[in-house]
């Protein structure tokens, strides 16, 4: 589903503050794989994810999603296949718009935003039903502005929004970094269920080694812009949680 071929990325090339973020990565992710990427800060994880999402273009190398070369395709054009959950809960939702408005935009992610009014009672009921699966009581507040919700609630809703329209790839960039343990648990559990139910191909970046251990069927350790370890489902299942901590010491 995702093919990353010999990709390099340098920032500020030739200057004193040059950063070699990604130094030659070959990564092939099959459809339905839930890949967890861990690594120290500066290992290139987010740059790699940004290149898959399209907010950053590789210096050299190519990226293919679902067989199509998307290397130079801008991020807003990749939304046809890719949905993204950001680290900052504010980045994935619009604060001044109501929950239902946010969900409407998510529901037309792959289509053009036309001049018809898309929010009707049927749509509202659909959204209410979906939100009630979270068990947070938000289904009664769909006319409220997103900005009145907490970070954890917004992240959980961002996840639900990602499957409002057809989605092949889900990118999760440290989605629980800004959340308290309980909200983080809701978000990770919801993500796991959605990935299973919708058979998504997913990439999760996390610093939470417990989540890295519990979720996903492939584990990658990145360091200095390269892939250091790449464990498939079987190898991952033989790991003990402490082994992950050892990687970082």
């Amino acid at each position: 589903m995702i093919d990353i071929n010999n990709v390099h990325k340098t920032f500020n090339t030739g200057r004193a503050n040059q950063v070699n973020a990604v130094n030659g990565i070959d990564l092939h992710i099959k459809q339905g794989e839930y890949v967890v990427i861990v690594g120290a800060n500066g290992s290139g994880k987010t740059t790699l994810l940004d290149m898959v999402a399209g907010s950053v273009f590789p210096g050299t190398g190519t990226i293919e999603v679902d067989g199509k070369d998307v290397t130079k395709l801008p991020d807003y054009k990749r939304s046809r296949w890719i949905a993204r959950v950001f680290q900052n809960p504010m980045s994935g939702t619009a604060s001044d718009l109501s929950i239902i408005d946010n969900f409407r935009l998510a529901a037309i992610r792959t289509r053009s935003k036309g001049l018809s009014i898309g929010i009707n009672d049927t749509f509202k009921n659909q959204v209410r039903e979906k939100i009630s699966t979270l068990g947070l009581g938000l289904e009664n507040k769909i006319e409220q502005p997103m900005g009145t919700l907490s970070g954890g609630q917004r992240q959980a809703l961002t996840l639900l929004m990602s499957v409002m329209d057809s989605c092949k790839v889900l990118l999760l960039d440290e989605p629980t970094a800004a959340l308290d343990p309980r909200s983080a648990q809701v978000v990770m559990k919801t993500a796991d269920e959605l990935i299973k139910d919708y058979r998504l191909t997913a990439i999760l970046i996390t610093h939470n080694l417990k989540d890295a251990y519990n979720y996903g069927n492939r584990l990658i350790l990145m360091g200095e812009g390269l892939i250091m370890k790449d464990l498939d489902a079987k190898q991952k299942s033989t790991l003990k949680q402490n082994d992950l901590f050892d990687w970082f010491s």
């Binding site: 999402a53 907010s55 801008p74 991020d75 807003y76 054009k77 939304s79 046809r80 890719i82 949905a83 993204r84 950001f86 504010m90 980045s91 994935g92 939702t93 619009a94 604060s95 001044d96 718009l97 109501s98 408005d101 946010n102 409407r104 935009l105 998510a106 037309i108 992610r109 792959t110 289509r111 935003k113 036309g114 001049l115 018809s116 009014i117 898309g118 929010i119 006319e143 502005p145």
Partner: protein
């Protein structure tokens, strides 16, 4: 009393600028100074076409397109050349000064004995009352169109662009194109204010746009204060409050003149009034603690 009727009429005329600034400021977070130029451009196009006896169905589209092009150019400069939005607006506004002069061929064009929007229909015998009904109808139509637009999928996407660019890009919207379209729309509305005022006052002058952006900003700020105070979330009510803000603004100026303040102080009164409205929410929040 005539004073206040004029204030009301002017308020209705300026409600188009208020809607335009509402779109650019609130929805895009872009303060758009192109306004001074596109307002005059609207008035200039109107005056030229009226003195050439063109009908309304030619003049209206011409004014809208002219304002739209001005806004689109600001949008292009801002998004494609990555120039700060404020500067982009100033550049286009400055250029428009020359464009307007060149179009008019002179610094001022009187509109005496030409048919106008206000002579088009005869609802009432009194010319002021007639103008009032025509303006009310005109403004109502514009508000309905903009209100509908803001509720469409496109409109929601437009509102999201000003709120969270990262979010709306990941949801498939070309934010550059959206900003250009939005600025074109905002300035088309501003040009419509020029269209209305030039016919109301009976002339177009090259300097009529100077400082006009503060009227738009002031009207929107009054509206914003009311929207926050009354906790309005409905798009329709917000737009109606924008119109109200434009009218209130003109009334304050009318009251100022009525109580005998020297007209040379009108601009400082405007500035102080806008300052008061902006500070009001901040002062009340402090006393709430």
């Amino acid at each position: 009393m005539d004073f206040y009727l004029t204030a009301l009429l002017q308020g209705l005329c300026f409600s188009a600028i208020a809607l335009g600034i509402y779109i650019s400021m609130k929805i895009f977070n872009i303060p758009d100074i192109t306004t001074d130029g596109s307002y005059t451009l609207g008035a200039v196009v109107t005056a030229i076409l009226l003195t050439h006896h063109q009908p309304t169905y030619i003049i209206l589209p011409a004014v809208i397109i002219a304002g739209g092009i001005a806004g689109a150019i600001t949008g292009l400069i801002h998004t494609k050349l990555k120039i700060n939005a404020l500067l982009a607006g100033i550049l286009v506004m400055t250029a428009l000064y020359s464009v307007n002069l060149w179009l008019m061929g002179r610094s001022n064009l009187p509109l005496i004995n030409v048919s106008s929007l206000f002579t088009l229909i005869n609802i009432s015998a009194d010319p002021n009352h007639n103008s009032f009904w025509i303006l009310l109808l005109f403004v109502a139509i514009i508000t309905l169109i903009i209100g509908y637009l803001l509720k469409t999928d496109f409109g929601i996407a437009m509102r999201a662009t000003g709120n969270s660019e990262s979010m709306i890009r990941s949801l498939g919207v070309n934010t550059d194109r959206m900003k250009i379209t939005g600025l074109a729309l905002a300035n088309a509305l501003t040009a419509l204010s020029g269209y209305l005022i030039s016919q109301l006052q009976g002339y177009t002058d090259i300097s009529m746009g100077i400082g006009i952006v503060i009227i738009g900003l002031g009207s929107v700020i009054i509206a914003e204060t009311l929207i926050n105070w009354l906790r309005i979330t409905s798009v329709w009510l917000s737009l109606i409050l924008v119109l109200t803000g434009a009218i209130i603004f003109q009334f304050v100026l009318a009251i100022t003149l009525d109580i005998g303040v020297d007209p040379i102080f009108l601009k400082v009164v405007t500035a102080v009034f806008v300052l008061l409205i902006v500070s009001l929410p901040r002062i009340t929040f402090r006393t709430a603690k």
